[in-house]
Symmetry: C2
């Protein structure tokens, strides 16, 4: 189908990120990865984290949960604004959240920092952010690689990736199989874009609206840099006690692909989700991007977290305790429930 209005709008694809090409490659990557699996591997690649056990025969043994991630083009905002102190925290928190949704707590982290020519001040600022994030999450920065690659990166630019290992007792891992239709979905608010959708956000705000990162945006009540560099929060303080108490059945970290692509990863086959668009006020930043870029709603939903950084799947009866538990961290709300079927259906009206 040709949508004649679509080419005048901004989509994630037109901003340069090809989700379909990624998906095709991922299928082949999964097949290849399986050829390497040893007896310790408990998961397939493509979950939020990979699972490995040193005790394959012990149902109560310790399971290692590992995940790798980058910061994406949020780095470009940090580099343009010359504010390098928080991208490390973004990365650590992102990684912590990815293993947290499997029930694991962080043990240690390693980073990869690459630039064309090392600027020690920049590198140290980035690592300082990493260590701040690590300390806050009780996670040791165990090592890393600082690569200087002349001619590979533009002056002033760098890439940053991270790798986390956490652990969980095997029979305490969150399992999507425990989810039933009629379970409640509790949303935890994001602090901004987190680390996803920056190519499209920059295209709209910087290229289309012609804003500079230092410009104050009345609709946001702050500068472009302040809005875009808001730190990806760690859900460990909110979720940790709920995991200890056994209140959480499953959880989804809402990253690239948004709610439609990430929530189903927390649901078993035959179970879908209904999300009530009227259950929360979407933060102003998303509205600004949608309207200024005339971004189609489906692209908004698959690109951005829209104010929802994590969704917990809990039994209906646990909702009061869960909402009370997160109320100081800094709260959450009932965003929908699980239903028979597959995928995510959005119902209700988005609050303006």
């Amino acid at each position: 189908m040709v949508d004649s209005t679509r080419d005048r709008r901004l989509t994630y694809e037109s901003a340069g990120v090809s989700i379909d090409a990624q998906d095709r490659a991922l299928v082949e990557v999964r097949r290849l990865a399986k050829t390497t699996f040893t007896t310790g591997v408990l998961s397939e690649i493509g979950s939020f984290g990979g699972l490995f056990t040193l005790e394959p025969d012990n149902p109560s043994g310790t399971v290692l949960v590992a995940s790798a991630d980058g910061v994406g083009t949020k780095l470009k905002v940090a580099q343009t604004a010359a504010r390098h102190g928080t991208v490390g925290e973004d990365l650590v928190n992102h990684c912590v959240n990815d293993i947290l949704v499997l029930g694991a707590r962080p043990l240690f982290f390693l980073d990869y920092f690459a630039s064309g020519r090392l600027e020690p001040g920049v590198a140290v600022a980035v690592i300082e952010g990493l260590t701040r994030g690590c300390r806050a999450n009780g996670c040791a920065l165990l090592g890393g690689e600082t690569a200087e690659m002349p001619g590979f990166y533009q002056p002033g630019e760098y890439d940053l990736a991270g790798f986390i290992v956490g652990s969980c007792v095997r029979d305490r891992l969150l399992r999507v199989e425990t989810v039933r239709t009629g379970d409640a979905l509790v949303a935890l608010p994001s602090t901004g874009l987190h680390t996803n959708g920056y190519s499209l956000a920059r295209k709209v705000l910087i290229e289309l609206l012609g804003l500079k990162v230092t410009d104050e945006v009345p609709a946001l009540g702050r500068s472009v840099a302040d809005a875009l560099l808001a730190v990806h929060r760690s859900y460990l303080p909110a979720l940790g006690p709920l995991l200890d108490a056994g209140f959480v059945k499953s959880a989804a970290h809402i990253t690239g692909g948004g709610i439609p692509d990430n929530l189903p990863r927390a649901l078993p086959s035959g179970v879908g989700a209904e999300i009530d668009l009227g259950s929360w006020d979407e933060p102003a930043l998303f509205r600004l991007i949608r309207e200024a870029g005339r971004v189609p709603e489906d692209d908004m939903r698959r690109t951005f977290n829209l104010g929802v950084g994590m969704i917990l799947v809990v039994a209906e009866a646990s909702v009061p305790e869960v909402l009370e538990g997160v109320s100081q961290h800094p709260g959450g709300w009932l965003i929908g429930r699980t239903v028979a079927g597959k995928g995510v259906r959005f119902v209700g009206e988005r609050r303006a």
Copy 2:
């Protein structure tokens, strides 16, 4: 001191890699990393790998050994030659070697692959190399991140980093404290540049000599691409049985910084090393780079492995068994011994 001849020669620094700036930043990074250390951490950052235990009070418990690494500008050669199938193997083997010198065997690996726009064929070729390396080392590819970062990487370019976790029983970890003066140093041959010195090698071969990657080089008996893309070997098959037999006291993976920077990491305080330059025939590739680039000897030694990919520290009495053990993998030689003092002293004459 101003060395008037130096500016006409090619050094690693003039090729764009500033070892000193890296060293200064590393000191601060180490200080920052220490602020994150939890009770599980057994090592300081900066060793070949980081050590973490889930059982801090158990001297015979399992220790996790982790390391992060990149491929460096060897990637540029692969990209210029459009040969993407082996850089993944380089990376896995590099990581395996980094934990092997602490006595650990690989458990699992995660990768970070970043490009401006994902070319699925290229990505799959790279991952295929990773999985080949993983299978050969009995290491599971447990996950990874494929990042598409528009505007960050040039068309056709990508960066690749890897993270490995291995394990070792705590009282079987190699410890530099067991090394004494008069111990023997056994060298294991490299297969080429491995993954270090590519900025300088490219500067000499491509820029200075004007060679194309497809050019055949008579002195090397093969093309530039074949010579530069030779796969970084894994020392697991050679070293594994020697570790099992308890023949190895300590070991150094000869990477960036060469023998002078890496061998001392395998020696305790007060112990230095004497390396006999006459004990091996330096591969032709290094001679070509030295002569064509008029590269000062100190830069050659601190940039390249010069044919020595790993050095084992073993008791004098174990030398025959060690040489016999590596003889099929594909051999090794007595390259020197430990002496009182510090650092590395080169003696004898390099064989032409």
